[in-house]
């Protein structure tokens, strides 16, 4: 590792030492209570995949550079000099963890491993060691915000098929009315995954509810956050905040994407608009009678996986359940659930960044949890979880239907 690279990487570590990080770095008692919290440890029994072990990889570098004991008696807390070999350990911290924050509910101090992981990710990015598919996607997203006109034209072409499909469902409405773009002063700006799976159900449900809405040109997912690079993260989310502000919209509705929701809701500071998940909005529509659902359409037992970033990290527990209960009487909970739910194993960008074998191996506990429900349909409210759960379904031959909650609602929708 070049001296200049090392200096830059260590500079990043130094720059990230806010109050929380200092306390996280200096106060872990290594009691080991968090070990059992991690789905990866629970699935493999490998201590490397525990919150404390991952944090230690970074804490030992911190010790060497920022603590008195690390300088005087490095053996005491096993301080290490950062080098290329140790950067592999930093990689382990960053990309074997989904940032699900379940360990925080075990730790007596509430140490947030995701924060430690974010620094590890930023260090890897600075050392050009991050998983390249994530960088590629993050840069694509950021570029989309810079070449706005090209992005708009491309997006309009992409949604043409969806518009056409929905025009058949809502005769008498123009495709542009069903999937509207650039609606100034609309009640809602919906940020989708920029894919059929999230646009189609939302458009169907919004049209049925007579929502005055506009579809964002941009995808909700923020690959900058998965890379732990604040500048990229900001560049990507600012595309959306600028769009909301330019259109003068008061409610930003995020599709079923955990990281995007937590980021926009809790991490970008106070804004002029409110942020809700699509399931919070749909729950409201159901309660207000703006959408009517047929409980006979969805057949079989339905279970729900709480996405970590929507549940534990953002407090949306009941609205998705209300939505599911509106389409079925056969809802069954996973155990544990809500704040204590096991992570799916694909969060934090691991669906893209990690080897599929690793994701499958470290999610056995999730598979057991799903199997125990005896469900026929597995739903969730996050695209990353959705992708991972689909992979688990295939790998472990669970023979389930994996679906987003909004898909079920759109299917059960009663059209006037």
């Amino acid at each position: 590792m070049e001296d200049s690279d090392k200096k830059e990487v260590l500079g990043l570590l130094a720059g990230s030492l806010n109050q929380a990080m200092r306390m996280y770095m200096e106060n872990c008692a290594r009691c080991g209570v968090c070990i059992e919290a991690c789905h990866a440890y629970a699935s493999t029994g490998d201590v490397r995949y525990s919150a404390v072990a991952r944090a230690q990889n970074l804490r030992r570098v911190f010790e060497k550079n920022h603590s008195y004991t690390g300088k005087i008696a490095p053996w005491l807390n096993e301080a290490v000099e950062l080098d290329a070999r140790w950067m592999d350990k930093v990689y382990e911290t960053a990309y074997t963890c989904t940032g699900c924050r379940r360990c925080m509910t075990y730790c007596p101090f509430g140490i947030d491993t995701q924060q430690i992981q974010a620094i590890a990710k930023a260090m890897l990015y600075a050392a050009d060691m991050e998983p390249k598919p994530l960088t590629m996607k993050a840069k694509e997203s950021a570029a989309k915000g810079q070449k706005l006109e090209t992005a708009r034209e491309k997006f309009q072409r992409e949604i043409a098929a969806i518009r056409q499909e929905l025009a058949e469902v809502f005769p008498g409405k123009s495709p542009e009315e069903i999937v509207p773009l650039d609606v100034k002063g609309a009640d809602v700006l919906f940020v989708s995954m920029a894919e059929r799976i999230s646009i189609l159900p939302a458009a169907k449900l919004f049209t049925a509810a007579r929502t005055n809405w506009s579809l964002s040109y941009f995808e909700a997912v923020n690959f900058g956050a998965f890379l732990g690079v604040p500048q990229l993260t900001r560049q990507i989310y600012e595309r959306i905040t600028n769009e909301v502000e330019q259109l003068g919209i008061k409610t930003l509705v995020i599709c079923e994407c955990g990281t995007a929701f937590r980021l926009m809701k809790h991490m970008i500071g106070k804004r002029s608009f409110e942020v809700v998940t699509i399931l919070q909005l749909l729950d409201r529509y159901i309660r207000e009678g703006r959408i009517k659902l047929d409980k006979s359409v969805i057949e079989g037992r339905v279970t729900y996986h709480d996405p970590c970033q929507i549940g534990r990290s953002a407090g949306v527990y009941e609205e998705p359940r209300n939505c599911i209960r509106a389409v079925t009487d056969s809802f069954v909970e996973m155990h544990p659930n809500r704040m204590e739910n096991w992570c799916c194993g694909g969060g934090g960008g691991l669906v893209i960044a990690a080897e599929p074998e690793f994701r499958m191996m470290t999610s056995r506990v999730k598979v057991d949890q799903i199997k125990a429900t005896g469900a026929d349909i597995l739903t969730t409210a996050c695209e990353m979880c959705y992708a991972q759960l689909k992979d688990l379904n295939e790998e472990y031959e669970l023979d389930l239907r994996v679906s987003l909650v909004s898909e079920l609602l759109a299917e059960a929708l009663i059209l006037d």
């Binding site: 806010n18 109050q19 929380a20 990080m21 200092r22 306390m23 996280y24 200096e26 106060n27 872990c28 008692a29 290594r30 009691c31 080991g32 209570v33 070990i35 059992e36 919290a37 440890y41 201590v47 525990s50 404390v52 072990a53 230690q56 603590s67 008195y68 004991t69 053996w75 005491l76 807390n77 096993e78 924050r101 925080m104 509910t105 075990y106 730790c107 007596p108 101090f109 509430g110 140490i111 947030d112 924060q115 809701k265 809790h266 991490m267 970008i268 500071g269 809700v276 998940t277 919070q280 549940g311 534990r312 990290s313 953002a314 407090g315 949306v316 527990y317 009941e318 809500r338 704040m339």
Partner: protein, 244 residues
């Protein structure tokens, strides 16, 4: 020579250790206070709280979490029992040492015993042995560092010598060699900066054990600001972050 050594340990070194501990402890706290705040909430949302709900009395919750460790109780009840007993015993031990001062009399002035009649030390020793031995086992062994063992061994040694003082006090046929009042005179002289030789207050034959106990306590105080024991200052703010 030995007398001079014990004098240094039991008088100047005590002042040094206490001053060192307070000064460096303050530095450690100030370092954290001077750092910028986290840019966004690090809150975990408990069941029953919505995304827009403000956290319910986060400070009270943080105190509750720090002092009762509900997460440990839930996920590792045996460890929780030992941790609670250990921390309560530490508080009692602190009180027992304060009680030696002539100005404080939880136990009667003429009592030969300290608060707890020696039981606090024994309970602490058992807890420390548990905390130490659990570090020898997988998976905690894999995540432990030498500093984790050192702090436990140092505390255990200090506690055992404390227990020995308590026990050794009954060695004499005529009863207790050194009483609470004798120890009180020593501490009082320290508080009043008389620089008097403790030997004149503590006449027992196990004076060396007392000296060793004080030496270990001094070493513990010197090490404390650089150890994870500083969590006593940060447990509440850390839990406050989780509570929002």
């Amino acid at each position: 020579m030995a007398d001079s050594f014990w004098y240094v340990v039991m008088v100047p070194m005590v002042y040094f250790s206490v001053a060192w501990c307070i000064a460096w402890g303050t530095v450690r706290v100030v370092e954290v206070l001077k750092a910028p705040k986290a840019p966004y909430t690090l809150r975990i949302f408990p069941v029953g709280s919505g995304s827009d709900d403000p956290p319910k009395s986060p400070l009270a919750g943080a105190f509750w979490d720090a002092f009762t460790m509900p997460t440990v109780r839930k996920h590792n009840p045996r460890l929780w029992v030992f941790l609670i007993v250990f921390h309560v015993s530490l508080v009692l031990l602190f009180l027992a040492h304060l009680d030696i001062l002539p100005q404080i009399n939880i136990m009667p002035v003429d009592s030969p015993h300290m608060l707890g009649y020696g039981a606090i030390g024994l309970v602490l020793a058992v807890c420390l042995l548990y905390l130490l031995f659990r570090r020898f086992r997988t998976p905690v062994r894999e995540v432990s560092v030498p500093g984790d063992y050192l702090v436990l061994v140092l505390l255990l040694a200090a506690v055992i010598t404390g227990d020995t003082i308590s026990w050794g006090n009954s060695w004499s046929e005529s009863g207790f060699v050194m009483t609470k009042a004798d120890f009180g005179s020593y501490l009082d002289s320290l508080l009043k900066f008389t620089w008097a030789d403790p030997r004149q207050f503590l006449s027992g034959s196990h004076y060396a054990v007392i000296g060793t106990h004080v030496l270990l306590a001094n070493l513990f105080l010197i090490f404390l600001p650089f150890s994870k024991i500083m969590h006593f200052a940060f447990a509440v703010p850390l839990n406050k972050l989780r509570r929002g």
